[in-house]
Amino acid sequence: MTLEHHLPALQVVVPLLTAPLVAVLRPKDLAWAAATAASAMAFAISVTLTSMVLDGSVLRYEMGGWPAPYGIELVIDSLSALVLLLVTGSSTVALLMGRDSVARDMEPHRQPLFYAAWLTAMAGLAGIAVTGDAFNVFVFMEISSLATYVLIAGGTDRRALTSVFKYLIMGTVGATFYLIGVGFIYMMTGTLNFADMEARIADAPTRAPLLVAAGFITVGLALKAAVFPLHVWLPNAYAYAPHVVTAFIAASSTKVALYVLLRFDFLVFQGNLDGHAIQFADFMLPLAVAGVLFGSAVALYETNLKRLLGYSSIAQIGYMILGASLLDQAGVTAGVLHMFNHALAKGALFLALVLMARRLAGFDLLQIAGIGRRMPWTTAAFLLAAASLIGIPGTAGFVSKWYLVSAAFAQGAVGIALVVVIVASSLMALAYLWRVLEPAYFGTPLETEGNDAPTPLWPLLVLWVAALANVYFGLFPQLPVTLANQAAGALLGIPATGVFP
């Protein structure tokens, strides 16, 4: 048993065990350093795991040596590797540049606890991605959610508290729905292991409880993933959370919920409940389209930049669902790929806001006027990430749009309508980001704020790494495309085709 063999477990264990340690470290900078180191280590583990599954293989790890389905099994495939990269990567980048921002917003004695909560949240999210056990997913989901509530409640605005309360209620309802669904499946199959469930559902004496379970699980996870119209918790939670936290959760938490949704709806139910595939497409596709249009349209009229980006996320989540509900290799690839690319773009956008917050009194569109001249490098990085969100060619966002539109074209008449929706929403994205960029570059700054201290170099470098990742993965998207393609093959139960040359 080499160390490499234990990596799937270490992915969760490292941050989870570092968290209590960080909580008791008194010097706040030491706490930050320990948290960042643990996060970086988790990222390194993710990268290693990714390299191990890049050839299409699946890693299985038996917790405590108990074989599945009796013991808990950790399963790493392309989809989980992609999600792990997002979770650990966004956490590491946000921590690397977030120290000043946290120090400004929070009393010193609360900071170690904040970092401990951060690591717990990350461990929970990573746990969801590695485990192959349905109940384990519930536990990790609640661990990460509870920690995330704590993180969001750290926002300086008192509205952070009300928005986190709303999130707590809705998040718990979502998780409980999921638990009910898992309970029904357990009743019918006697197992909690995903792979085993898939095999045993076929033998279930009656279908009705399984359909009920599918309903509960889909709705519960859709709530967690902020799928329209279950998105109402998201804009305020993003808007009033500490800026670093927004960057982290915008890139990771909804994607993880979506990951479980895909797992369940495709792997567990799809092959077994005939008609569920159709149900998924018929039910989720209209929601996805509505979400894409609704999110973009609301963002067009939103005046707070962070809420605007939150509504944009609702639209982008719609893209992911839209791709997945096409139910073919190309569509699911596009949906999964967009999880990755959207995280890159949205993460970089929110990271830019972390730096801008140093100079701005708030993120009202009036308040950001002239920021392009006061912070040219930061705004340029924001511009780059915005281009990716719109889908300008040469950026990561374009790659997933390309796959999405290609997949939609293959669907005939419905596909043409979907192309129109995607294109219309891209144009709306252009318009709402333009509403941000034009005052940022040409507006006259309000005279109230006088803080013109130069931006420190280190966070700016980190921000630019995040922004340039959008260009890198726009020109060389082999890694995410390969992962997404294999993930789609696995989800649809067909061997991956058209592997990247």
Partner: protein, 120 residues
């Protein structure tokens, strides 16, 4: 009738679930919302525990000399032990947030809080 009574535990589950759900949607008081949430979760605990019951089953403890004993399924009970812990943590965190909300707004009625937010 008998069939309905035979599913008694499902009825209890459904009624508890909806009671909790109603409270967390309809009540303005944040504490009452949290109570609703707790009832909502308890319903699910009940669902798991009752499903583990096997007619004539006993506690799953292996004893020497007793053979052919029917045991209740221990796994759901173990699961729900974990879920209870999670539920308590959620309620505790929720209450803590309510305390902070009261400090910040001097109110725990969500319609009043919403009014204050709109004014600011």
């Amino acid at each position: 009738m008998l069939e309905l009574l035979g599913h008694l535990h499902y009825w209890v589950f459904a009624i508890l679930l909806m009671t909790g759900f109603y409270a967390l949607i309809a009540k303005h008081n944040l504490i009452k919302k949290l109570l609703g949430l707790a009832i909502f979760q308890s319903a699910v605990f009940l669902l798991y525990i009752t499903m583990a019951e096997i007619e004539g089953g006993t506690a799953p403890i292996i004893q020497n000399g007793v053979a052919d004993q029917i045991y209740s399924n221990p796994l759901p009970q173990v699961l729900i032990l974990t879920a209870i812990v999670v539920g308590i943590s959620t309620t505790a965190l929720g209450l803590a947030i309510v305390v902070r909300i009261r400090e910040a707004y001097d109110s725990i009625e969500d319609n009043e809080i919403r009014r204050m937010d709109r004014r600011s």
